[in-house]
């Protein structure tokens, strides 16, 4: 068996109530150590208040070649944006 520590992806919630955000990855033998290492590697300057780690091989990702079929359908739907609608000035802010 190969004795390399598995790769973990690290997600951190910053100070201001934002979602957890992917910040990078690291190696660790298990989840507990992954969190400890993430603390040392990715929050040395108060960057976070919460850490998620997930083993990289548990992540499923879309493939670059699916870019067209996945995202093109939303390009033609301008009515999904608020700017599509004209609101008369008299109505005020909306």
């Amino acid at each position: 068996m190969k004795n390399e520590w598995p790769l973990w992806e690290v997600f951190i919630r910053g100070q201001h109530g934002m979602s957890h955000r992917h910040v990078g990855s690291l190696h660790a033998p298990d989840a507990e150590m992954a969190i400890k290492n993430a603390r040392d590697v990715y929050t040395r300057r108060n960057e976070g208040v919460s850490i998620w780690v997930v083993e990289a091989n548990h992540i499923s990702a879309s493939s670059p070649s699916d870019k067209g079929p996945l995202y093109e359908p939303s390009e033609s739907k301008v009515y999904r944006h608020p700017t599509f609608y004209d609101i008369p000035d008299e109505v005020g802010a909306m």
């Binding site: 004795n3 790769l7 990078g24 298990d30 150590m33 590697v41 040395r44």
Partner: protein, 325 residues
């Protein structure tokens, strides 16, 4: 520059695919790990990012040397934080390289058996406390010169690693300048030490940017691919122009009798470092090459049982958990 003389790999692939790839880069798009990329692009990046990562890790040695002998508790805490940052920078970079299909352990082993290089600068010794100031000021200063433009490099993970590194690197240079300023403004003996550190570090720092453009054979392809953003001589000139006034402020003298402001060019003229010395250091004959590699090999070997034991423990715990379910 932490990556010197990175050999770029020739690429033999479908010209149409190559042209489309180049068009993406020219349009300023980022290339992500799962995107199609030429084999040469991938291999050159592994070599460059790997060398960059190794430099961060080996770069901890000359400074780690002085942690226990820092003159005050404050300086010790600062140096400790800086050396810890370097470990972090190495890790960001290894992770970026890993997205290209090489593992961190493989990269480490290539460093340890000499197949991969690290920056020539770390093969020079740090003889006294003044060197800590000079390293932060000059070596980190030169590294920043290279790393700031690399934030715009075409490979997404490398670019993101550089953005993180640059955020932290400015502290490194400023603490170095602060440390050497304290000595330059101190007793005559301290000022002499500061000058001596500058004398020894100046040319090795200039070498960090790699050989002169006329001798730099690997630049063109890497620049087209936006793996390299500026030529070696451009960055070296920028570094000299930035550093000379900083030395003047300290009342220290750059050890180059030919150094002179050139009104016409709007830059300083300066002497090139001794390129024979540079190539000799790269070949393994610098003052500390043997020590540095021996220290990394020892750390790797001494740590093996810890790595193995932690993994065995994690596997046992996981197996127990499955059995209990």
């Amino acid at each position: 520059m932490y990556a010197q003389m990175v050999k770029s790999e020739a690429t033999q692939e479908d010209p149409e695919k190559l042209a489309a790839f180049q068009a993406r880069i020219d349009a300023g798009e980022k290339i992500e790990p799962k995107d199609w990329m030429p084999e040469g692009y991938r291999k050159t990046l592994i070599r460059q990012i790997g060398q960059h990562a190794h430099s961060e890790i080996v770069g901890q040695l000359p400074e780690g040397n002085w942690i226990t002998r820092a003159p005050t508790l404050e300086r010790k805490a600062i140096l400790l934080a800086k050396v810890q940052d370097e470990a972090g920078h190495g890790l960001y970079l290894y992770c970026a390289a890993e997205t290209l299909g090489v593992s961190r352990d493989e990269l480490t082993e290539m460093l340890l058996d000499g197949r991969m290089k690290y920056s020539s600068i770390f093969n020079y010794p740090t003889l006294n406390w003044a060197d800590m100031g000079a390293v932060g000021w000059l070596v980190d200063g030169a590294a920043i010169m290279n790393q700031v433009p690399l934030q715009r490099t075409s490979f997404g993970p490398y670019s993101r690693a550089m953005i993180r590194v640059c955020k932290e690197e400015s502290f490194h240079q400023r603490q170095g300048y602060d440390a050497i300023r304290k000595m330059a403004e101190g007793t005559p003996a301290q000022k002499k030490m500061a000058q001596d550190a500058l004398n020894r570090m100046w040319y090795p720092s200039l070498m960090m940017f790699g050989p002169s453009d006329k001798d730099s054979v690997h630049s063109e392809q890497s620049m087209r691919w936006k793996i390299k953003m500026n030529t070696n001589d451009e960055l070296r000139q920028k570094f000299v122009d930035q550093t000379v006034p900083q030395a003047e402020f300290l009342g220290l003298t750059i050890p180059d009798p030919k150094l002179k402001w050139n009104e016409e060019r709007g830059h300083y003229d300066f002497s090139e470092p001794d390129w024979n010395e540079f190539h000799d250091v790269i070949r393994g004959n610098g003052p500390c090459n043997t020590d540095r590699l021996a220290a990394r090999n020892k750390a790797w070997e001494d740590g093996r049982w810890v790595r193995d034991a932690m993994l065995a423990h994690a596997r046992k715990k996981a197996a127990r958990k499955i059995a209990a379910e």
